[in-house]
Symmetry: C2
Subunit: 256 residues, 2 copies
């Protein structure tokens, strides 16, 4: 029986990413964290600070994935509209969460007190719970299968840390990498045949990714074999290594 695949989507909210001003780091960070939880990052959308676009992304992505994460737009300024947009998508009101208010009061007690702008960071879609954030005063927010995280990567990392082990997932994806100093075009047939031989069904089977590079004046490629069972990965890696060596390619275990 095919194993249940758990999926998550990410909506990155922020004009700063779309303008090219800021290099996103949350996609890779969330993807790596999800892998360990046994959840696959299935799709990402980067949307501007425009409520209707956030609402559209939230509705579509939450409906077809087990989990939806958002990053960005939960600070105190006028362009921070994520909470309002998620509430609109859910059809619920926005309310001040008493625990979030208390956290912010403590955090800002020695920093000038809780102003109206700062109190914005205690607003949540009605019915939400909080995600702890040891780094700064403002918490993340959970509402059902939607997780609202900060945009600043090291704060988002804190929030993910607080969620570690709390989300139901499947088996983590395991991967092993091998490398060759070879143009990938010369071994494309070997890759295709090996993947086919190991019964990749596009979901729970083995997949082989090919990642070419140009380094030290030479071309090469790393091949990443992924599956949810170590035995499947090992068998495929052994077979791929054998086939590459039969084609007179020198294989570097662990990748180049």
């Amino acid at each position: 029986m095919a194993e249940r695949i758990w999926t998550a989507a990410l909506a990155v909210i922020g004009d700063e990413i779309l303008s090219g001003r800021t290099q996103d780091k949350n996609v890779a960070q969330l993807a790596s964290w999800l892998n360990v939880q046994g959840i696959r990052l299935a799709e990402v959308r980067i949307v501007p600070d425009v409520e209707e676009r956030i609402v559209e992304a939230v509705n579509q992505l939450a409906a077809r994935n087990d989990y939806l994460f958002t990053t960005g737009g939960i600070g105190p300024t006028h362009d921070d509209i994520t909470v309002d947009a998620v509430a609109a998508a859910l059809g619920v009101a926005v309310e001040v969460h008493p625990d979030a208010r208390a956290m912010l009061e403590r955090h800002y007690a020695s920093r000038g007190g809780l102003t109206e702008a700062r109190l914005r960071m205690a607003r949540v879609p009605a019915g939400a719970s909080l995600i702890e954030n040891r780094m700064s005063g403002a918490p993340g927010i959970r509402h059902g299968n939607i997780f609202i995280l900060a945009g600043v990567p090291h704060i988002a990392a804190q929030m993910l840390d607080a969620l570690t082990g709390t989300l139901e997932g499947g088996r983590p994806v395991i991967s092993t990498t091998i490398g060759c100093w070879v143009p990938e075009s010369e071994v494309a047939d070997v890759l295709r045949e090996t993947e086919r031989a190991h019964a990749n069904d596009g979901e729970g089977g083995v997949s082989i990714g090919s990642y070419p590079f140009f380094r030290e004046g030479r071309v090469g490629a790393n091949f990443v074999v992924r599956a949810t069972e170590q035995a499947l990965v090992d068998a495929c890696v052994a077979d791929l290594t054998r086939r590459l060596e039969a084609a007179e390619r020198e294989v570097t275990a662990g990748g180049i």
Copy 2:
């Protein structure tokens, strides 16, 4: 009369981004390039190497933007399915482009010749033209308002370079940054009022982005004022500086 805003979307195609293995660099690179062309990057989707997901993204994004770019999935291996997916979205056949074939023949003449796998890189959606790529043999592909680029960032950059100045756009977005050593929550009101005073209509007007940071043990924020006219930017920056200084904040021109 409001100026026409030209928009583009980007579909990043690749399991390697969604798995967290590879840090995307094409979003920021394309965004910066588009700014100079007077085109706004309006949305991004990162989709897996699954044809139906690519087709869905291509159809939705191309319909509601002036331009659609894709990155990734145009190499010679079994997981490179972008051309097939775009052709399916357009409802056209896939064919070998004679010029692309000739380019690849020249490129591989001294590198072992044009194998069947390498010939895959000459396949295009029927009716497409080519985008030059001086870096490696395989060209990019243009079909109407869809631009199919390589996933490797320095090759994508070459292809963008070949397109520079060839796409119709509006005025480039101009931006000026000023900075303060201040928690953004303390000046949120000033930012909101200043933006409102400068008639941001959400499209062609002035917008102020607030980007907090934590550096040298202190918190601060940079404020980026954007518009398509220098005079609007200058007036807003002058006003924002005056308001911040009136609130006893020291302003650093050019940002911190």
